[in-house]
């Protein structure tokens, strides 16, 4: 009984912080989402409007466009980061000259604040001035202009995200790879399995939990990207990089449409949870079920 109370006492600060900074704001945003509230409207007071905000967003072309661009962004960024991160992790399991230096350099982007990452990439990609357009033009005759080329701007935002977050994936997968037991690999080699078979049938299944955890983290991050992109493109050209996080920011802050912005926030949170749940159901749950069946047998 005493230890139970001690346990709760030790948990209390965390629960308090979680409640104050997580749960209370969530319910406040939920409450706002059922109201029309713009402090600069003719009537600046909150007006209860039921589910009108949610109905509005279903027909809001700008929101749906931003959602589509966000999903594309998250897909390309996360898939690329997992693939590149895995390859780099495999590389780091081997010894090569300058490995320590490479690992340090490779990890540096992780400690840079997203807003700084956006600023640096903006400097590097500003037409006529940035180093990237300069060399693309010099070497390939390609004139990169992220201010007018929507596709180029989208690709640059994906590359920037990959540059920033691949080290996280590398470190996570490296930790998973180096902790794998050696026996299955030695056995597979004795049995004559080739490198692809070893990767597909042994390595991948064994590091799958680490991959999924990384995908969940990166997917949630990618879906709420704001600061890097805000600094790099401001959401442009047009709406090409106006990802949903940035869209919400523009609705809530410059436009001060708190009610509608809250409704979008709730929907985006819901969609994120659904996507993570689908990933779990599709990739983790069947494996758990199979393990349970095997254990029962």
């Amino acid at each position: 009984m005493g230890s139970n109370r001690t346990g709760w006492l030790m948990l209390a600060p965390t629960l308090l912080i979680l409640g104050v900074f997580g749960i209370v704001p969530f319910f406040y945003v939920l409450y706002l989402s059922f109201h029309q509230w713009n402090p600069f409207a003719a009537n600046p007071n909150m007006i209860f409007i039921g589910a009108n905000n949610f109905r509005r967003l279903v027909f809001d072309g700008e929101f749906l466009t931003s959602l589509w661009f966000t999903l594309k962004f998250a897909f390309f960024a996360v898939v690329s980061e997992i693939i590149i991160g895995y390859m780099l992790a495999q590389m780091l399991t081997r010894d090569f000259y300058g490995k320590g230096f490479f690992r340090t350099i490779h990890t540096l982007p992780l400690i840079v604040a997203p807003i700084v990452v956006g600023s640096v990439w903006r400097l590097m990609t500003t037409p006529s001035i940035g180093i990237i357009p300069y060399y693309l033009n010099k070497w390939f005759g390609y004139q990169l202009n992220i201010g007018s080329d929507a596709t180029a701007a989208f690709i640059i935002t994906v590359i920037m995200d990959i540059w920033h977050w691949t080290p996280l994936v590398t470190l996570t997968l490296l930790a998973a790879i180096v902790s794998l037991p050696k026996d299955p690999f030695e056995q597979a080699q004795i049995d004559g399995a080739n490198r692809w078979q070893i990767f597909w049938h042994i390595t991948l299944p064994m590091i799958r939990p680490a991959i999924l955890a990384t995908v969940f983290i990166r997917l949630m991050d990618a879906l709420r990207t704001v600061d890097e992109v805000w600094m790099l493109t401001g959401g442009g050209p047009g709406a090409a990089t106006r990802f949903v996080g940035l869209h919400i920011w523009k609705i809530v802050f410059p436009k001060t449409d708190y009610g509608y912005g809250s409704a979008i926030s709730i929907i985006v949170l819901y969609l994120t949870l659904v996507m993570c749940w689908l990933l779990y159901v599709g990739l983790v749950a069947p494996r758990v079920r199979r393990s349970k069946v095997n254990a029962d047998a």
């Binding site: 037409p127 006529s128 202009n145 201010g147 401001g234």
Partner: protein, 508 residues
């Protein structure tokens, strides 16, 4: 020396105290006539002025009551704001003992922080930057302290050298319906037409221009002239492999700077005012309802500007107001519309600018009749930008903030400030020797501000400024990328503006 003669007049508390205690005067009161007494007082007072350093001035007296207070302000990172942070705040701190922390940040972040603070009533900031275009929204929400009334209510806070009547008429933008001041003007400038004097005066270029157009090369007065000059320079530079273009363009495809350039600097020169919204006609924006946002003039203006954007430096599609100034300073444009706050460093700071000594200023090119409308007070030819420092009603140190605002509003600090950052908010600043010198370097910018400032105007007095901008700017960005044509785009923008105004409850 801080001792002022005003504090040693006969009858002032200091002199009376001295008179009461002094054996010299108590002995002589019965014997000396009035003239001798006054002479003695003046003599002793002058001696005291040289030997007694303990007497303070208004600032140290006022600051003593508020010792230990730390003021926090948030403002946009602009040359005038940086001067406050780097020069005026430390000066004030030294004189009063009141610490001042000025946070200079991006335009978006500045609004984000200030509005959130005032809306949530957190009281983090004691001073906020109020750009001219947002003041109506702040006043509508009663966010700001009435400076005039507060000073009347507590005369002990009134600085001797602060006088609301010393401001230029730009201060009127920061007055409420009752005529009271809600913000102390700290920057005021016009968006001007800058051109490269060295290029415009180059005999070889003049000859080439004459050959190409049959005209003499001179700063443009009409849109046709401006386009012709821009086309000429862009082609001339290409033919001669120069990193030079005919014009600047503040045409970012995802930042409101482009929206502002069009509605505040370009459309008015075609006779489209107040963003094309008619407040007196139920806030109509579309032509169908009586507005002008999608009028023929507006469409003509947009096509004119889009052409300029196409022949501007490649970075223009990613340029806000800051980058436009940088482009001009880098010598990459022959002419352009540039915010006056950047004119000083472009024209005089050789560390940042490659065109020092080669900058000319002129009024923006306009369509027929626009100047006449502006002179008659029925229109304007460009943007009179600026801002003030105000005190949020949620501030926890209003008295100290009021002192600081008065400090930066005094005539005595204006000269150095105007030279460091070309902004004039007090009428006397035009006569400052430093300002006159700078005026010559800037090609007469200050003279233009003084004489022709009346032809420019700030943003219209709408309390829904950011809301309408954000409702229409996504369409504007699509026009810039070519996803939507200019005519169709302006039609959509007018409809979006009216829908937003209806949603906000202003349009019935």
């Amino acid at each position: 020396m801080v001792l002022g003669t005003r504090r040693f007049r006969t009858g002032s508390p200091v002199v009376e105290e001295w008179t009461r205690l002094s054996p010299f005067t108590s002995f002589g009161r019965k014997q000396m006539n009035v003239k001798i007494k006054i002479g003695a007082v003046a003599l002793v007072a002058s001696l005291m002025a040289g030997t007694v350093p303990a007497f303070a001035d208004f600032w140290s007296d006022a600051g003593a009551k508020l010792k230990g207070v730390t003021l926090r302000g948030v403002t946009e990172s602009t040359p005038p704001s940086n001067y406050i942070k780097d020069v005026l705040a430390p000066e004030f701190e030294q004189k009063t003992g009141i610490k001042v922390e000025i946070e200079t940040t991006s335009w978006d972040q500045m609004y984000d922080k200030a509005i959130k603070d005032m809306e949530a009533k957190t009281g983090i900031y004691d001073m906020v930057y109020i750009e001219q275009d947002i003041v109506y929204a702040y006043l509508a929400r009663n966010f700001l302290v009435d400076i005039t009334q507060t000073l009347k209510g507590d005369p002990s806070l009134k600085a001797p050298d602060f006088d609301e009547t010393k401001f230029t008429t730009f201060a009127n933008y920061f007055k409420g319906a009752n005529g009271d001041l809600f913000g102390v003007p700290m920057e005021a400038f016009i968006k001007i037409y800058l051109y490269r004097k060295d290029l415009f005066d180059d005999p070889k270029i003049k000859e080439a221009f004459k050959a190409a157009t049959g005209k003499d090369l001179a700063p443009a007065k009409t849109h046709e002239d401006y386009t012709q000059i821009a086309d000429f320079f862009t082609k001339y530079a290409k033919d001669n492999s120069l990193e030079l273009w005919g014009t600047t363009a503040q045409a970012h495809t995802g930042h409101p700077a482009s929206w502002y350039e069009f509605f505040e600097s370009v459309a008015p020169t075609f006779g489209v005012y107040n963003w094309g919204i008619d407040a007196s006609n139920n806030y109509a924006a579309s032509v169908a309802n009586g507005g002008t946002m999608n009028s023929d003039k507006s469409k003509e203006a947009l096509k004119y500007w889009l052409h300029l954007r196409d022949i501007a430096p490649p970075e223009s599609a990613a340029s806000t107001w800051t980058e436009v100034a940088t482009t001009f300073a880098a010598g990459r444009a022959a002419q352009g519309l540039v915010y006056g706050e950047n004119a000083a460093w472009i024209a005089s700071d050789a560390e940042k600018s490659k065109v020092v000594g080669n900058v000319g200023v002129a009024l923006p090119p306009v369509a027929d009749g626009v100047i006449a409308e502006a002179e008659a007070g029925k229109g304007y030819i460009g943007y009179y930008d600026g801002g003030a420092f105000g005190i949020p009603v949620t501030s926890k140190s209003k008295e100290a903030a009021l002192l600081f605002l008065q400090y930066i509003g005094q005539d005595s600090v204006q000269g150095g400030w105007a030279v460091a950052a070309p902004r004039i908010t007090n009428t006397s600043t035009y006569e400052d020797p430093g300002v006159k010198d700078m005026d010559a370097k800037l090609g007469g910018y200050y003279t233009m501000l003084k004489d022709d400032g009346k032809l420019f105007a700030g943003a219209p007095p709408y309390p829904f400024h950011a809301q309408v901008r954000e409702a229409t700017s996504p369409i504007f960005y699509r026009i810039l990328t070519g996803e939507v044509g200019p005519d169709e785009g302006l039609d959509q923008m007018a409809a979006a503006a009216e829908a937003e105004l209806q949603n906000l409850g202003y349009r019935k």
